[in-house]
Amino acid sequence: MKLVTAIIKPFKLEDVRSALMDLGLQGLTVTEVKGYGRQKGHTEIYRGAEYAVNFLPKIKVEVVVPSSAADKVVEAIVRTARTGQIGDGKIFVTPVEHAVRVRTGETDDSAI
C-alpha cells in the first residue's frame, strides 16, 4: 500500500475529498498545517511592531491506498487541487508496509 500525502489550499479540501470518494476510496485523514514555500506570506502590524508572516494555512490530506490505486489518486488530487497559482501545494507518495483496522483487526488492503 501507499500513503499519499497532499498539502493543499484549505478551500480546495471539499473538491479533493469528493474526487477521492468518486475513486471509491472510503476514508482519509486531514490535518491543519502551516506551510512555508515560494508563496509569499503577508505582513501584520500591531501598533509599532511589524511581523512578516511566512507560514500560510494549508491542509494536509493523508490517504492510504492500495499500491495499484496510487497513481489514480495522485492524478485526481492534482486535477482538483490545482488553481495554477503559486502555493497549490505538493503531493508525496510513501510506502506503507502494513495496515490494520482497529475495529475489526482486518489488515492491509481490506483495512482501508
Binding site: I45, Y46, R47, G48, A49, Y51
Partner: protein, 486 residues
C-alpha cells in the same frame, strides 16, 4: 459649575418655605440631605467604574498579551482591584480625603481609618454649596479610582513580572503614591467653608477685615498642594493616568525587555478580547468622568457628551493617520485611539465644551500614535502594552490641553469662583503654568517612589521568573492554570 442656576432657584424656594415655617427650613438648612437623583447617579457611576476595571481593563490588556500569559494578566488586574478595595476602607480613603495636619499639603490623616464614624447617614459636600451626597457613595466611587490606577501599571510590566512581585508592589504603590497624589490634587475644604469665609470677609467691619482674611487664607490652605496651586483635574488625568503611566515606564525600564523581544513575534493573542475591553472601558468611563461631577446635572451631562466625542475623535484620528502611514487602519489602532481620547478628556471632561473636546481628542489621537509607533521604537524600551505612550503621554496632553479648552473663549466653562459666586475671569497662561506644575510634581513623585519600591521588591522576592519559565508562560508558572483548554 452649572448647578448654579438650579441651586439659586432651590435656595429661593427654601426661602419661600422659610417665610412659612422657620423651624422646618432651619432644620433643613442645618443638615442638607442628599438628593436621591444624585445618589442614584453616584451609585450607578461607581458600578460603572468597577466594570471598567474587571472585566474591562483586564480584557483590554489580556487580549494584547500572548495566550500563555493571558491568565496572569487577568489575575494581576483582578488582584489589584481586590487588594486596593480593602486598603481603601482600611486607611486609603482617610489618607486621601481627610485633613492631614502637618502634612496636609501632601497626605491626609487617619481620622477615618477603618471608615471610623462613617454611617449610612453621613454625607459629603459636592462642588455645589449646600448639595451633599451620602459619604458611602462617595467612598465607593473614589474606591474604584484607587483600584483602577495601579491596575493600569501592570500593562507595562506584562508577560515578565512574577506574581509574587506584583502582589507586593501594588499595595505599596497605592499607599505611597496613589493616596498622596489623590490628596494633593483633590482634597480641599469644600464650597461651604470657602463661601462662608468669603462672606465673613465681605461682611467684616474694617477692623475685623484682617482677622477675616486670615480665616479665608486658612480655608484656602486647607487643601492638597496641587489643588492649592490651582491646577484643575476634573476626573483624574493627573491622579490616575499620568501617575500610572510614568510608573509603568519606570517599571518596564527596571524590569528589562521580555525574552525574545524584537526577535520573536508577539502578536496580541485576541484582539476580540481587546475590543471587548475597550468597549467596556468606554462604557465605564462615563461613570468615571460624568460621575466626577458628583451630581446628576448639566455638568455631568456635559462630561458625558465630551467623553463620547473626544473618544470618537481620537479613535478616528488614529485610524486616519494609520491609513496615511501604513495604508491600513487597524482595530488595535482604533481601540488605542479611543483609550487615548478617554485619557486626554478625563481632566477636561467637565470644563471643555463639546467642540473643545473634539479637538482635544483629535490631538491626543495623533500624539499618542506617533509616540507609540515611532518614538517608542526609537528608544527601544519594552513598554509591553504602551501604558506610558497612551496613559502618560495622553494624560499630559489632556492636562495641558485642559487649560486651553476650559477657556470660556473656546467654549469652555471656565473655573467657578466660589468667593465671587460666579465663574471667574480666565487666565490661560496662569492656568497652563498651574497644570504644568501639577504634571511635573506627579511625574517626579510617582517616578521616584516607583523606582524605590521596585528595587525594594526586587530585594525581597525578585522581579522576574527564570528564562525557561518566562518561555513557558506566567499562567502555568505563577498560577498552574491555562486560560484556554479548547
Amino acid at each position: 459649575m452649572t448647578e448654579r442656576t438650579p441651586r439659586r432657584l432651590a435656595v429661593m424656594a427654601v426661602a419661600a418655605l422659610l417665610t412659612c415655617v422657620a423651624s422646618a427650613a432651619a432644620l433643613a438648612a442645618d443638615a442638607p440631605t442628599p438628593n436621591k437623583g444624585d445618589t442614584a447617579w453616584m451609585l450607578t457611576a461607581s458600578a460603572l467604574v468597577l466594570v471598567m476595571t474587571v472585566p474591562g481593563l483586564a480584557l483590554f490588556y489580556g487580549g494584547l498579551v500572548r495566550t500563555k500569559n493571558m491568565l496572569s494578566m487577568l489575575m494581576q488586574v483582578f488582584y489589584t482591584l481586590c487588594v486596593v478595595c480593602i486598603l481603601w476602607v482600611l486607611f486609603g480613603y482617610s489618607l486621601a480625603f481627610t485633613e492631614g495636619g502637618a502634612f496636609n499639603a501632601y497626605v491626609g490623616g487617619l481620622s477615618k481609618a477603618f471608615l471610623a464614624g462613617v454611617t449610612a447617614d453621613s454625607t459629603v459636600e459636592t462642588f455645589t454649596d449646600g448639595v451633599v451626597i451620602p459619604e458611602l457613595a462617595y467612598i465607593a466611587f473614589q474606591m474604584t479610582f484607587a483600584a483602577i490606577t495601579p491596575a493600569l501599571i501592570v500593562g507595562a510590566l506584562a508577560e515578565r513580572m512574577k506574581f509574587s512581585a506584583i502582589a507586593l508592589f501594588i499595595p505599596l504603590w497605592a499607599t505611597l503614591v496613589y493616596f498622596p497624589i489623590a490628596h494633593m490634587v483633590w482634597y480641599w475644604a469644600g464650597p461651604g467653608a470657602t463661601i462662608a469665609a468669603a462672606k465673613a470677609l465681605a461682611a467684616a467691619a474694617a477692623d475685623a477685615k484682617a482677622a477675616a482674611q486670615i480665616e479665608v487664607d486658612k480655608v484656602a490652605a486647607n487643601a492638597g498642594l496641587i489643588f492649592q496651586w490651582g491646577a484643575i483635574d476634573f476626573a483624574g488625568g493627573t491622579v490616575v493616568h499620568i501617575n500610572a503611566g510614568i510608573a509603568g515606564l519606570v517599571g518596564c525600564l527596571v524590569l528589562g525587555k521580555r525574552v525574545g523581544y524584537g526577535r520573536e513575534a508577539m502578536p496580541p493573542h485576541s484582539l476580540t478580547m481587546c475590543l471587548i475591553g475597550a468597549g467596556l472601558l468606554w462604557f465605564g468611563w462615563f461613570g468615571f468622568n460624568a460621575g466626577s461631577a458628583l451630581e446628576a446635572g448639566g455638568t455631568a451631562a456635559l462630561a458625558m457628551v465630551n467623553t463620547f466625542v473626544a473618544t470618537a475623535a481620537a479613535a478616528l484620528a488614529w485610524l486616519f493617520v494609520e491609513f496615511l502611514l501604513k495604508g491600513k487602519p487597524s482595530l488595535l489602532g482604533g481601540a488605542s485611539g479611543a483609550v487615548a481620547g478617554l485619557v486626554a478628556v478625563t481632566p477636561a471632561a467637565g470644563f471643555a465644551g463639546p467642540m473643545g473636546a473634539v479637538v482635544l481628542g483629535l490631538v491626543a489621537g495623533v500624539v499618542c500614535l506617533i509616540f507609540v509607533d515611532k518614538i517608542k521604537n526609537a528608544f527601544g524600551y519594552d513598554d509591553a502594552l504602551d501604558v506610558f505612550g497612551v496613559h502618560c503621554i495622553g494624560g499630559i496632553t489632556g492636562a495641558i490641553g485642559t487649560a486651553i479648552v476650559a477657556a470660556p473663549a473656546f467654549g469652555g466653562t471656565g473655573i467657578f469662583d466660589y468667593a465671587a459666586g460666579k465663574v471667574g475671569d480666565y487666565n490661560m497662561t496662569a492656568q497652563l503654568v498651574n497644570q504644568a506644575y501639577a504634571v511635573g510634581l506627579t511625574l517626579l513623585w510617582s517616578g521616584v517612589v516607583t523606582l524605590v519600591l521596585l528595587i525594594l521588591v526586587k530585594l525581597i522576592v525578585g522581579l522576574r521568573p527564570g528564562i525557561d519559565q518566562e518561555r513557558e508562560g506566567l499562567d502555568l508558572v505563577d498560577h498552574g492554570e491555562r486560560a484556554y483548554n479548547y
